[in-house]
Symmetry: C2
Amino acid sequence: MTSRSTAAHAPAGSVPDADLTRLSLNTATTKAWTLEEAVDGAVRAGLPAVGLWRDRVAEAGLERAARLVRDAGLRVSSLCRGGFLTAADDDGRRASLEDNRAAVVEAATLGTRELIMVVGGLPAATGPNAPARPGGDKDIVEARRRVADRIGELVPFAQEHDVRLVLEPLHPIFAADRAVLSTLAQCLDLAEPFAPETVGVVVDTYHVWWDPDLRRQIARAGRTGRLASYQVCDWIQPIAADPLLSRGYMGDGFIDFPTVTRWVAESGYTGDVEVEIFNQDIWDTDGDDVLAVVAERYGRLVQPYL
Amino acid sequence: MTSRSTAAHAPAGSVPDADLTRLSLNTATTKAWTLEEAVDGAVRAGLPAVGLWRDRVAEAGLERAARLVRDAGLRVSSLCRGGFLTAADDDGRRASLEDNRAAVVEAATLGTRELIMVVGGLPAATGPNAPARPGGDKDIVEARRRVADRIGELVPFAQEHDVRLVLEPLHPIFAADRAVLSTLAQCLDLAEPFAPETVGVVVDTYHVWWDPDLRRQIARAGRTGRLASYQVCDWIQPIAADPLLSRGYMGDGFIDFPTVTRWVAESGYTGDVEVEIFNQDIWDTDGDDVLAVVAERYGRLVQPYL
């Protein structure tokens, strides 16, 4: 108990032997912090990189956000997020392409090549009176086809701006409402027609830890040059009322981080490791304390296996 | 509104044109009913089959349960369930093999070949002080290997009793605590070394609807003679506090039943279709009313596509 509460309150820099040279703070982990506070917090904790969310960037202003991060000497490991490409109507399609082009420009301005894409779920369709025929709004096969088409439409623009569209498979718990891409294999299949510099994939342990094909698909992502980001956080239970927030510190749940991290290392990945935790308790905790725990867990469960 | 509330309170037999000749009531759907009540209810609703849970069978007594169902002229489409095979210690292994042999005998006695297997999750391992090294309790790769080994150990006994071990892929939301088998492909890979009459798979829409490889794997299950059961219920949201109970009537959620049902039909499946819904609201509803809704939804969203 003593050592744990010490770790939780000491600055991250005091964790013995912690090699933080690839640890990136995804700003969603310290949600209460403004971009400026997150940048300062990352620097205080000795982290070399941040993963940015667009809402925090927008609050700070794009140019100012880029300058803040650059002046602090931090890398931007990724921008979260583009996507939501499944709308079935023309207006929805146009709006999502426009929003994604803006995200591409933001990524380039912020100095990251990696734009994380959460592709969206089924168009809203529930209740006994909703259409349920094939071709109707519950047609996940067709929704996936639209995602592939729209990625194809975005590719030239992304290429021009030297930004990679990074497809994120989301846990199947989110297939209905957030992402019809559910496995790494599916994302790699979708990426195949495009250059690996322009369409990649991300491995987020929370979303893929259960996948029986995970080792093989991580290796495939590495071999094809598409592994663009490695994000870590744990799968905890009981599942929170809002499953989006049901993430925990590495070590608090069920994920075997050493094994998955070794697979990522074996694939040849040499990039940053982003810690991205959505969790109300963690959001209610002081950011410096959060970073101290993150650094300790990373140093124990992730970094040694990289 | 009028037509809906009428349907919900009329006896199932009054649903116009409903062909119920392949509809089976899984007794978990009408949890408040004893086995005898479920048998009577199924007969009243014009259903030809029931899927039985072992707890209801045990309450009634095995021989008496077998007689009740036989005397009512009902088929038993499956027995739920065997499994929970992931224990890492010798005592746990012995206990689970013993329990599964008992389940095999029960299935044979009840007159069904299909014993549904929910294989179990990770041995309990959570919290920062739990072992998290590879080879520790969070090692899902090893847990899956144990499942394969134990299925192998059970096969000769199942074969002797002319019972099929029916592997159930569970939604990845249950990978930690209920089933380390998460996809149909994975179950079919595991089944491959064994005769299709002895190791099969079940397609439960709730568990597999999100799977991008679903069509191909259903076809493979049919082609290899392993598709032993088709179970239907819907994926509803928001997810219930206990995700096990987060199931709904067909049509109330996000699943495209016509499409999945057509894939099952194309695979050559000619067996019963079990409706298996765990849902507190439905459990609190009068069983006859539940069966009326089930029959109406089945007649509209499933049967026409079989």
